[in-house]
């Protein structure tokens, strides 16, 4: 691959243990910044 650099990203490959968006900071205009908390995630 000479002309394109590709960043490592999660392959879009439901446990619900992650934090609810609205509980973290903004309370008004919040999903992208919620880290996954599934220990078995791919």
């Amino acid at each position: 691959m000479k002309h394109i650099v590709t960043l490592n990203t999660r392959d879009m490959k439901g446990c619900g243990e992650c934090q609810t968006s609205c509980q973290s900071a903004c309370k008004t205009s919040c999903v992208a910044n919620q880290p996954c908390e599934n220990k078995d995630a791919e």
Binding site: M1, K2, H3, I4, V5, T6, L7, N8, T9, R10, D11, M12, G14, G16, E17, C18, Q19, T20, S21, C22, Q23, S24, A25, C26, K27, T28, S29, C30, V31, A32, N33, Q34, P35, C36, E37, N38, A41
Partner: protein, 463 residues
């Protein structure tokens, strides 16, 4: 579907459905644009001829063009570029699934010791009666959460208001109760406190630093900006009282989570100066600055003509954060915190914040609402903590509150980052929880472009 843009000297291509992020050289950037615009109607030979024309006189060879087209073909074969949309069926399954409740916003105080006139909660009383939540009501709310949380282990409770510290003893007692049942119920309670800082004492700091997973500290930035809106009932600004409290709070936080949470309005669209004030003059590193949610006719409401300034501010912030990182003094901005490798799964990206389904607000008297922004709107009362969710039709409506239920989102490149946006914002702007708040969309997209640029810069600079 792809989205491509240039920012801070980087060419960035986002493949929407796979979530892949690419940094092409100028030749590949143009090739991707031509392929996207032709929608498959042009052959490689035609694309190649157009590229030769675009780059004529710049020394681009036929061989380089062929290499570029080969790279694009390889990424397409890997499902990382021009990938197909395969998730829509999962969105419609959301209504069928048996959702559990995993988070509550506890409005422990429908009253406040400040009188901020941009407050969406009508100075804390939510357009209703002033009042404090009793321990018995709060205890029942926690039991209701446990009973309705299914197999979920992590449960979240935010002490909110009004000003929750006006009911501090109940907050303490509720945490003690939750800790007493955690082991037996196999649950992990994570508490958050959102406070205006007036009632922060040494006792509050010690308690919050022991018990609260995160604290959200309301400060709008510079003294004159903060004190324009964040005043008490005598009209006195709060800055001089809350800043020393917050500095002590954060100093003793010991690395646990906190956010300085500001609101910017039409009067301070130069809000990066408020962020930098909090970082440089006050020493806070975890920062969040949110656009005001206000009636469009309010003088503080953001206007269409503010958007170019706001967009420029987000770019200034992103570039400055990279500078600070290089200098070894990084700051965090909530909306730029993307985790590309361990971020949310596709289910989370489709279903959003979970308001009205996984996340509910509980009033001081025990009534249930989809979230704190719907409280005391009789159309949106969902039930109470004794009888549970009785308005199941409303809950089903919120289950379908996702990116695929909004026609405006169908062709939006940011849909898997915002999940369709905030239902309350949509309701207040468009009169429908399944609508959209266009100015909010525009601001959100700009933030994501800046956040992705930071990730690209970090990757390219080898951080």
């Amino acid at each position: 579907m792809i989205h491509q843009y240039k920012l801070n000297g980087y060419n960035i291509v986002l493949d929407i459905n796979s979530g892949s992020i690419h940094v092409p050289d100028p030749l590949a950037y143009e090739a991707i644009r031509l392929i996207d615009e032709s929608a498959g109607q042009k052959s490689d030979e035609e694309i190649g001829r157009e590229l030769l024309h675009i780059f004529s006189g710049q020394g681009v060879t036929q061989e380089e063009i062929q290499e570029t087209l080969d790279d694009i073909r390889e990424l397409r074969a890997q499902g990382k570029l021009f990938s197909e949309e395969t998730f829509a069926d999962k969105a419609f399954d959301l209504k069928k699934r048996n959702t559990v409740i995993k988070a509550l916003c506890l409005l422990v105080a429908h009253t406040c010791n400040l009188n901020c006139n941009y407050c969406f909660a009508a100075q804390g009383n939510f357009l209703g009666q002033h009042g404090l939540m009793s321990f018995e009501t709060g205890k029942r709310a926690l039991d209701f959460l446990v009973e309705n949380s299914g197999m979920r282990r992590n449960l979240e409770v935010d002490f909110f208001g009004g000003e929750p510290l006006m009911n501090f003893q109940v907050c303490k007692d509720l945490v003690a109760y939750a800790r007493s049942i955690e082991q037996e119920k196999k649950k992990n309670f994570r508490f958050t406190l959102t406070t205006n800082g007036i009632g922060v004492t040494d006792e509050v700091i010690e308690w919050a630093n022991k018990e609260c997973h995160n604290v959200v500290l309301s400060l709008d930035g510079r003294k004159e900006v903060n004190d324009r809106f964040r005043r008490d009932y005598t009209g006195r600004g709060s800055y001089d009282r809350i800043v020393p409290n917050f500095k002590k709070f954060v100093e003793k936080r010991g690395g646990k989570g906190y956010y300085m949470r500001g609101t910017f309005t039409h009067f301070n669209t130069d809000f990066t100066n408020d962020i930098f004030h909090m970082a440089d003059d006050l020493g806070f590193a975890e920062l969040s600055m949110e656009p005001v949610v206000a009636d469009p006719d309010s003088p503080s409401a953001l206007k269409e003509e503010d958007l170019p300034v706001i967009f420029e501010q987000y770019e200034i912030l992103a570039k400055d954060m990279l500078r600070r990182e290089r200098e070894g003094k990084p700051i965090t901005f909530y909306h730029y915190m993307l985790d590309l490798e361990h971020g949310p799964c596709i289910y989370k990206r489709i279903s959003g914040c979970g308001s009205g389904t996984e996340y509910l607000a509980v009033t001081a008297s025990g009534d249930l609402y989809p979230c704190h922004q719907f409280v005391n709107d009789p159309e949106y009362k969902m039930g109470d903590i004794w009888k549970g969710v009785t308005n199941t039709e409303l809950r089903d409506s919120f289950k379908l509150c996702n990116v695929y239920s909004r026609p405006e989102c169908a062709d939006c490149w940011a849909k898997l980052y915002c999940a369709g946006g905030c239902a309350a914002n949509a309701y207040h702007a468009a009169g429908d929880i399944h609508g959209t708040y266009r100015m909010g969309c525009d601001i959100f997209k700009k933030r994501i472009e800046c956040a992705l640029m930071i990730k690209v810069a970090q990757a390219m600079e080898g951080n």
